[in-house]
Symmetry: C2
Subunit: 669 residues, 2 copies
């Protein structure tokens, strides 16, 4: 096998025409990325090269089923259609307004030469920033219904690249820190899986996961560089239960020259379907505060009793504070019945009554008060992973919020198995989650789930699916559980988790004094780092997570007031995975640019050219920087605010403390 792979890897470079008969080739519009698809010895394969060097050697395609024969051997090509597209579409909200959708591709119709003579298809789309392919399963040969037991799809990487990964088959999706290792050290991991080295940066992920199981990646035993699809199973071992003509999600390999370009990729969005929501004006990118952090740091509780956070009085005071401080929305957690531990659920029935407020929470009065103050409420549904129960309450619960003018909901799926039996990323999770997204859309309600199914770009089709957690968020720094995130974490996320979509990380910690109560918790960040996160960790909904009183009298809060949550365009200016990252974004509704830069635990100075600014224009840069002696370990709150004039020619020296950051607003003069 090694020898064969090797030979083909070489041929890919020199001998493509000679094998055109059984190998079809398609290149990206810019010609740098080349995919080949072919049949050899009755099996379907693909391989890929970038800048003339192999990145994927011969990689298998196919399926094994529960009842039917495998769709793997004795295959032949019926016909191959060439496709290409070049268009531009607009996001209702996003990190960029206009997305360029340009690719070349091929659609291969295949048939079995023996057995049931089934017909199926594989479509490849090759973009400048990566490629995707998906299967269209047979409608013939007794495939009206089938159970996929194994998707044979391989990713046979050409080098032992450096990999950034999270193990699969743990608890809630992705609520772990990333590990970095050689590709050969993986066992089974989640996607996105990010790879770099040998002059290329890549990520393996999927797009448009709506009625299938999540794809994990498992190292093939005999070769540390070959990964294969590993679909999260149902509790009985089935991988996917499908019907005739099923189209799989797109299997995507994002490809770029370096990590910074990788983080700008739009291929995942492009491989999703256009919006199914005609009028999206009710979907509002916005900042919010909330009754939330006080629970995580142990001051208040979700439970009823004296420490209950969600009281009418407190909620009104949060609404007052939001109105007075230019924050358009307030989130309330723990307002409804069912939070009292230990019993969130019993006999498969959740205790959560999603349309019933606790006695201390006067929803009608609060809703009226918010409306009068011009502040919107963000609702909260915690399902405790009791999906069946939640689907039963959902319509009524959305009606309830509808009646009270609540247009957005934070949605929780805390728990290691759905309905105590199913993986939170298997087909059951994917399909039931999709029901929630579509029901919410019918009710004109936006959702941002925590503990979600991983993001695969569905926000294009369902723009009410605004953001997700699905990561170790800020809450881990607050004491839930009690291990804070590492100083590397926020410098890894833009190149890994964020490749899949927006992240509701909840930045904005200003006061670290909760450590008096939870001394072993640490936010491994300075205050300026927290400000920079509004640029670094993209989300259309951004929380100012700290307690309102902790923002009082803090001039640095001005940045949180100023920073937009919707963007005309975005540029990753600098980045080294796990070390540092700098991102500039332009306000979608004005001429101002914003820049955020962060480092990990190491202090460093970044030299950043401001070439993104309009040429010949002068700007006033309002700079929020780490103050003298700032250090996440000992002096996280030291911040200095200063202004200077800059142009597109300016190269800015951005000095970052250990765990530090810098946030800048550029206003044209």
């Amino acid at each position: 096998m090694p020898a064969v792979l090797a030979m083909l890897a070489t041929l890919l470079l020199v001998a493509v025409p000679a094998r055109a008969a059984d190998w079809q080739s398609v290149s990206s519009p810019d010609g740098r990325l080349q995919i080949q698809f072919g049949i050899e010895e009755g099996r379907a394969w693909y391989r890929a090269a970038f800048k003339g060097r192999p990145i994927l050697d011969k990689s298998l395609l196919g399926f094994r089923f529960k009842e039917q024969a495998p769709l793997l051997d004795g295959l032949a090509i019926d016909k191959v259609a060439r496709i290409s597209a070049d268009s531009e579409w607009q996001q209702p909200w996003g990190e960029v307004r206009l997305v360029h959708d340009r690719y070349r591709g091929l659609r291969a119709e295949l048939r079995e030469t023996g057995g049931a003579q089934r017909h199926f298809a594989i479509e490849f789309r090759v973009y400048d920033d990566g490629f995707g392919f998906r299967y269209e399963l047979p409608r013939d040969g007794g495939m009206d219904r089938f159970v996929i037991m194994d998707e044979a799809t391989e990713f046979a990487f050409a080098q032992n690249y450096r990999a950034w990964w999270i193990p699969a088959y743990r608890d809630n999706y992705s609520e772990y820190e990333y590990a970095r290792s050689a590709l050969s050290a993986l066992s089974v991991v989640q996607t996105p899986l990010t790879l770099e080295g040998d002059g290329v940066a890549m990520a393996v992920h999927e797009a448009a996961l709506v009625d299938y199981a999540s794809m994990n990646l498992r190292t093939a035993k005999d070769n540390g560089k070959t990964l294969k699809a590993d679909l999260s199973p149902w509790s009985n071992g089935d991988r996917v239960r499908g019907r005739a003509g099923l189209k799989t999600p797109w299997r995507v390999v994002m490809v770029a020259d370096d990590a910074a370009r990788l983080a700008e990729s739009t291929i995942i969005l492009n491989l999703n379907e256009p919006s199914r929501i005609a009028d999206t004006r009710w979907i509002r990118p916005e900042k919010y505060i909330g009754i939330f952090w006080a629970m995580h740091i142990g001051r208040l509780s979700w439970n009823s009793g004296p420490e209950l956070g969600a009281t009418t009085e407190r909620t009104k005071s949060y609404i007052d504070w939001a109105a007075a401080n230019g924050i358009p929305a307030v989130l309330v957690e723990g307002w409804n019945v069912g939070w009292d531990v230990p019993e969130w659920w019993k006999n498969g029935r959740s205790r959560f009554r999603q349309a019933e407020a606790n006695p201390d929470f006067d929803m009608p009065a609060i809703a009226a008060y918010a409306k009068a103050k011009g502040v919107s409420l963000i609702g909260h549904h915690e399902t405790g992973g009791q999906v069946r129960d939640y689907l039963g309450q959902m319509e009524q619960a959305f009606d309830y919020y509808d009646r009270h003018g609540v247009r957005a909901i934070k949605l929780g799926y805390v728990g290691t198995r759905l309905d105590e039996t199913e993986w939170p990323d298997g087909q059951y999770a994917v399909e039931s989650f999709q029901k929630v997204v579509e029901a919410a859309a019918r009710h004109r309600i936006a959702i941002f789930p925590h503990e979600p199914v991983k993001d695969t770009g569905l926000r294009r089709t369902w723009p009410n699916l605004m953001s997700r957690e699905g990561a170790r968020g800020q809450e881990y720094n607050g004491g839930s559980p009690d291990t804070g995130n590492s100083p590397d974490h926020t410098s890894i996320l833009p190149f890994t988790r964020l490749l899949s979509g927006p992240l509701d990380y909840t930045p904005g910690v200003f006061a670290f004094d909760y450590r008096a109560r939870r001394p072993i918790n640490r936010v491994p960040s300075t205050l300026a780092h927290q400000l920079a996160l509004y640029l670094i960790l993209y989300s259309p909904v951004q929380m100012a997570v700290d307690l309102p009183e902790n923002y009082e009298g803090k001039p640095a809060f001005q940045f949180i007031r100023d920073v937009p949550t919707d963007w005309e365009t975005s540029r990753v200016i600098a980045g080294a995975i796990g070390d540092y990252v700098a991102i500039a974004r332009r306000d979608r509704h004005g001429p101002d640019w914003y820049l955020g830069a962060i480092t990990n635990g190491e202090a460093r100075t970044l030299r950043l050219p401001l070439a993104f600014l309009d040429r010949g224009r002068r700007y006033r840069a309002e700079i929020y920087a780490d103050g003298p002696g700032a250090d996440w370990r000992s002096n996280p709150e030291a911040v200095v605010i200063r202004a200077q004039e800059v142009t597109a020619e300016t190269v800015l020296d951005v000095a970052l403390a250990p765990g530090g950051g810098q946030a800048i607003r550029f206003r044209p003069l």
Copy 2:
């Protein structure tokens, strides 16, 4: 639990005297490292601080047994003895000649207040470069024989440090690349486990593992920062089968200001017993070539037939070449009967006849020829993991080598389970391996096992146990298996695997032309990087791994001729784990210094002060550097050799290509 831990972590800093009653404290000789041991609520705990900051919070000590009650609760202190030592001892060979053994410690004698009223002891030794502790299990209370089912020992780290690790419970020990992640991302890992951050570098390992199971480390479920001991089990689930008064191996936490200092630690050696071999003159540090690499790159075979490597003619030609090129020894693999695949063993009997040469290999003639040429032979035993079988052949096999003047053996344990049932790092592996070490010593034979039990410093007690592989060695770059190591790998090993002891990595690849035969194999290294490895990856036996003909006419081979394998002293001059490392060593038998520096896939220039050189002395530096355009991916063989005069005041700019390195010999003028 978090709150309690936190409170104690604080007390550790301020309130020690107030709790002297139940907490005994002991500090390192330099006072920077402080350990506390105590009993609270009847349980035994320890904690540690470095430079006044907690590094380990309250960590549990104790055991659970199969028959007897746990040794965990209802404990009280009988008496505490203070101990301290300050001595110096000499290694027969090593990276440093003299080792300073200086510590302060305490030995606590404990008893159960209830139950069987058993008595046992825990001893702590605190060095400037870390601390160790071990248990002495009861002789009373029906503990004449017992089975340990769980060692409760915890390591409750105070921060979510960055960790470098290899998963436990895979195949052969440590033959994986290291992963880097936050401590909170681990599941169960091997030791050494290296940690860094918050101004400290640490490693958890063990010393003097002779009659116990290897200690792995598992993350405690409820707290990502707390690890506990996880002993590799017997196939029936027993962890350790012990007798009254058993002393466990030392549990060691190496502690230093940074990774470079960590890599200089001698605590593992100091916690082993003095040499049991009186006259060690027959144990020779040396360089060797061998009939080995040609098999890995697919030119020759271990099997009989036309491609057999170990023939009389070829071995004599290797002996000639060694004699002519100043290499004192020649290794031969595949010389004996039993190599023919597929069947290395059958019905638990190995096919390997360790004292029977294959028909093409005339041992008496070869031995006489080697003797006449003044070249020593290095023998080879491959057990295929058939330990019982090997122990049965061992005496006869050592006699055979003895008769033919073979004083050193490379020892292989290829296979995922010993005797197809037991973990290669469980008590069975440890104890059977110890039998081999001691038998070899009786026969005055040195061994360097590959696929070994992990190194825990036993070379101090048994200096014939010279080196081990127990890592992804160079062989992985040659095609076995076909995934090469990553460019980061050699910059990680000095701070991880090498903390446990010498590594027989087999450096010295000069010709990369084998890629014509195995194109997907890569040595992720330049030629100068290969030279530097003789300094970076310490071993008293160092192979020049490439084919002799590939060294012909290569001026750079002079460095391999020159570089010693035995050192007066060693200094880690610079290092960042996974990025770069530079190490200087002084010849044990002369005034010359040598320096090796390597980088990972990134090009960089290191500024290295030569302060290690004798003050006021002038040296001629013979520099082997990456040549113009050197790059591991495209131009690995470009090397330039130049000389310059330097002194201890010189600061050298060491430019390293991608995957590059530099090797320097300093001769006094």
